[in-house]
Symmetry: C2
């Protein structure tokens, strides 16, 4: 093992989660344990854009107690970004800038926390730096509530989102059945391309308080098929609960809100994309002439740190800490991944080449979905249930969460310019 | 004190809350302690309708452990109802039926858990039974997330809803500010006539992670005024967070969704009442040409037992238990109320004549709202903060709530017919 002395920079990218900051805590705490090798630990606001702007904070000056509080602080403390680097063969200006910043600040460790796109960014940066003979270890730290990264059993962020979705689905189930009159309730859950999170509503059903029907993007969505499914439930029950992924599409490739854009306009005559749940409710109310209610879990499902999974928090932390250890041990151009062991739930933390991860999507296996394409099988329950275990790690102050507060002391050009 | 021997019946009415079942636990556990006086403890499904249908359960046959679990079970275990009794002078058929059921089952204690309308029901029943010389003690147990009952400092159900609203507002605040680009976010909170719950978003602002602007039904809503408020925030900040009560109305008495009904139609050409938040977002997007996001907290805010306030759970329980004690001591035609003591937060539990409570609405005092009508003063914080303290009382099983399960053994006519 070659000891590579220099500084470390870390950034957060893509949609935030309840535990993305827990990975940051893992990176920061582990990195700060090695001052002999890692001189400075930097945090880049808004990910790669912070680096391009030579804008970053000196994490070593933060209070260790505040770093610890990251484990109960949702969203992205450093600020996130959706920025896709160009193909370096087409336009290498961003890469040149990154290299010049890395040289200027002697960055030898670049750790990046994000989803598919971010892993692509990592891979491109790693390969460019290598080509330029600049010695820098680049490690991707996975995160996404969508749980769609390949190369890992599951992704940090998913367990907490799944715990929120399944718990509130159970609560809404009870709430929606208190009156004599029946109702059709439709819960809309995030996940543009993969149905992992919408599927977590099956955990509520598994406990007896969950949806009768679950529709995922893994199957073509068919409105008539749904009407038949609902009719069938209504024959034995006055209430129907439906969970639907925002990402479901018809065979023709249309998202649900696109089915009605022709007639929906907002106050100003603009076409208004209703939410998936509210559009389905309009169809259902028309067909069954009964009360419907659309519930969009919206941002809450990805930021509910008050209901985070303890397993997820710990694994997100370990993903960050192990990324530092892997980098120190010489790894580069890899992502941290989880490999599930046989037997009672446990994982090994491994490294996976970014090449194998980037720009891919892992879907819910078709064999875990029932034949009718409207529910999940026991295989999914066995997969997901261990991931939602354990308590959140929040410090409360006056009954409300005490989030981490960083001083964010500028260490980039603003200081040096 | 006259000892009145007989049976007790309890019902739940109106919109459910996270702690309405905690009051049920208080009623059941206290009532079951006095088998020498209270022979049978009945629970009526769907409140007064259960009684009218001679349909009720024998609570004495339920497992005491399941009764305890009610403290972590949201919604209304017995089933709720929205049913307004006629004026007995106009139509006394329901009252006659109630009296005949009470005679048949020797009901001498009628405890009813609900809001304004339910207190009116209680009062009418109490007065009718008295007029008929039927000795029965009638006690109202308050509940409403709207917190708008007079005669009590606050209502069971409010504290838990306020804890949920303030906590998720803090989380959404962080989530909505992760990108470079600014955004206007509008959170819609329940409360048709009073703004107590929407105001609880001020607790999030008090902690530094909350709305810039809060609009309550206590002030006339003015769209131009809001645009000015938002402009003013945007001058110093790229992000704006707005909390709005679903009950805000213009000076002309129109709810927000009614402002645009002329042009909004759903997939079938029906007029579609958009939510308050989404309609405001349409106006804001048009005016400021920037990203907006509407979040409707929907049913979650009233059923989130996973984030219930410990103070609220305990007080809801005590309201139920004290209702039984008050009835045993001879009280009738009263509601249980909370009187706040001077000094550190504590309450006395009192009885208030239903006459003074029914069909009234307590609003947020105008002097607790700022002059511009877009925020709350410290008086509100001091009022609300003690009510959201303490932990939920949930038993978890596989990381998900274990709700109470009742056998619901029929004790009414179904058994005797």
């Amino acid at each position: 093992m070659t000891v590579l002395k220099g500084n470390l920079i870390f950034g957060q990218s893509g949609g935030p989660t309840a535990v993305i900051n827990s990975s940051a805590a893992g990176v920061f705490e582990e990195a700060l344990k090695h001052p002999d090798i890692i001189g400075k630990v930097y945090g880049a606001p808004h990910g790669i854009v912070g680096i391009l702007n030579e804008d970053f904070y000196d994490i070593g000056q933060e209070d260790p107690e505040e770093i610890k509080l990251l484990q109960g602080t949702p969203s992205s403390l450093l600020g996130s970004v959706r920025y896709k680097l160009a193909d370096p063969d087409a336009d290498d200006s961003d890469y040149k800038k990154i290299l010049s910043v890395f040289r200027k600040y002697n960055i030898r460790y670049f750790l990046y926390n994000g989803g598919n796109d971010s892993m692509d960014t990592c891979d491109k940066v790693a390969k460019y730096l290598e080509k330029q003979n600049y010695d820098c270890r680049v490690i991707g730290v996975p995160k996404t509530i969508d749980n769609d990264l390949v190369g890992t059993d599951h992704c940090p962020g998913f367990g907490s989102a799944a715990k929120f979705v399944s718990t509130v689905t159970m609560e809404v189930f009870l709430d929606s059945r208190v009156y004599y009159d029946g109702m059709i309730i439709v819960i809309e859950i995030m996940g543009r391309h993969a149905g992992w999170l919408a599927a977590s509503s099956a955990l509520a059903a598994h406990k007896g308080y969950g949806p009768d029907l679950i529709y995922l993007p893994e199957s073509d969505f068919d409105l008539d098929h749904m009407m038949d499914d609902v009719s069938s439930i209504l024959r034995r029950n006055k209430n129907v609960m439906i969970a639907v992924s925002e990402g479901v599409k018809t065979r023709e490739g249309k998202f649900i809100p696109e089915l009605v854009t022709e007639v929906q306009t907002d106050a100003f005559g603009h076409k208004q994309l209703g939410g998936t749940a509210s559009v389905l409710c309009a169809y259902l109310a028309d067909r069954f002439s009964m009360k419907t209610r659309a519930i969009e879990l919206s941002l809450l499902q990805r930021c509910a740190a008050h209901l985070a999974s303890g397993v997820d928090i710990e694994e997100a932390y370990q993903a960050g800490a192990e990324a530092v250890k892997a980098a120190l041990a010489g790894a580069s151009d890899v992502m941290i991944g989880f490999r599930r062991k046989a037997g009672p739930y446990a994982i090994d933390i491994v490294t996976v080449p970014l090449e194998e991860v980037k720009n891919q999507e892992k879907k819910v296996p078709r064999k875990w979905i029932n034949e009718d394409g409207n529910g999940l099988k026991q295989e999914y329950i066995d997969y997901a249930l261990p991931l939602i275990q354990g308590e959140p790690r929040q410090v409360l102050e006056d009954g409300l969460p005490r989030f981490a507060r960083f001083k964010k002391i500028q260490a980039g050009r603003k200081q040096n310019s």
